[in-house]
Symmetry: C2
Subunit: 129 residues, 2 copies
Amino acid sequence: MATHGNPEPDDEACRQVLQILALIGDKWTIQVVGRLGDRTLRFSELHRAITGISQRMLTLTLRQLERDGLVTRTVHPSVPPRVDYTLTALGTTLLDAAVALGEWATTHRHEITDNRRRYDTTHPPRTQS
Amino acid sequence: MATHGNPEPDDEACRQVLQILALIGDKWTIQVVGRLGDRTLRFSELHRAITGISQRMLTLTLRQLERDGLVTRTVHPSVPPRVDYTLTALGTTLLDAAVALGEWATTHRHEITDNRRRYDTTHPPRTQS
DNA sequence: CGGGATCCGCTTCGATACTG
DNA sequence: CAGTATCGAAGCGGATCCCG
């Protein structure tokens, strides 16, 4: 393991992993991947399927996923233009891992919500007193 | 689980799950939880263990984890003051799930890195020339 | 030693307008 | 339909000072 502040190769791997984990926490990435889990969708279908996302964010999210090789972007030279997005094999493995985490969240969400309520009522706002 | 885009009361659960997933993607949360995985640590130990984190961010991260019931905060009335942080049972289950995702990231990080390089060299910068 | 309060730059994101 | 370009608002995070 990295012992001192030396930029060892280990350290870089850590940053890479952290960077990939950030994908999961991204507000939209998981929702897009989840929608593409069972079938191919076109841009407008994704846009309608995901409540509250803007075209800008959908574009940026898809671009990043394409860059990472998690989704495939297929442009059909037709009028009007049509672009299909599909999950790659790599993307599917990510979805599997994310689903596991989603199940954890689903299982414990009430517990966590209760903990928050209890904390908020127990601990007075610490600004002065 | 919601299979298709119906705005059901299910929607709130979805937001809760998303909110919890955001914990994972948080820059510091996973690192803190990971450090507390095997043993109890005090504030200064965590601060030294996690490279680059500020006291502010460490405090905020720990506060949130305490609020969610993932870590326990123990204040020892001594001079100088000493505060210990420990993972709760719930926190341990999160760590397990996160580790699985971390292994996914570790396994595929080279693949993803390569995909990015390939994408960056293949796709020219789209800002018109 | 373990934080709280404040200032402040930087990134992120939503809304809007425009293009092929 | 599927984007791109730009602008402005909001939030995150770092640096600093101070207190129990």
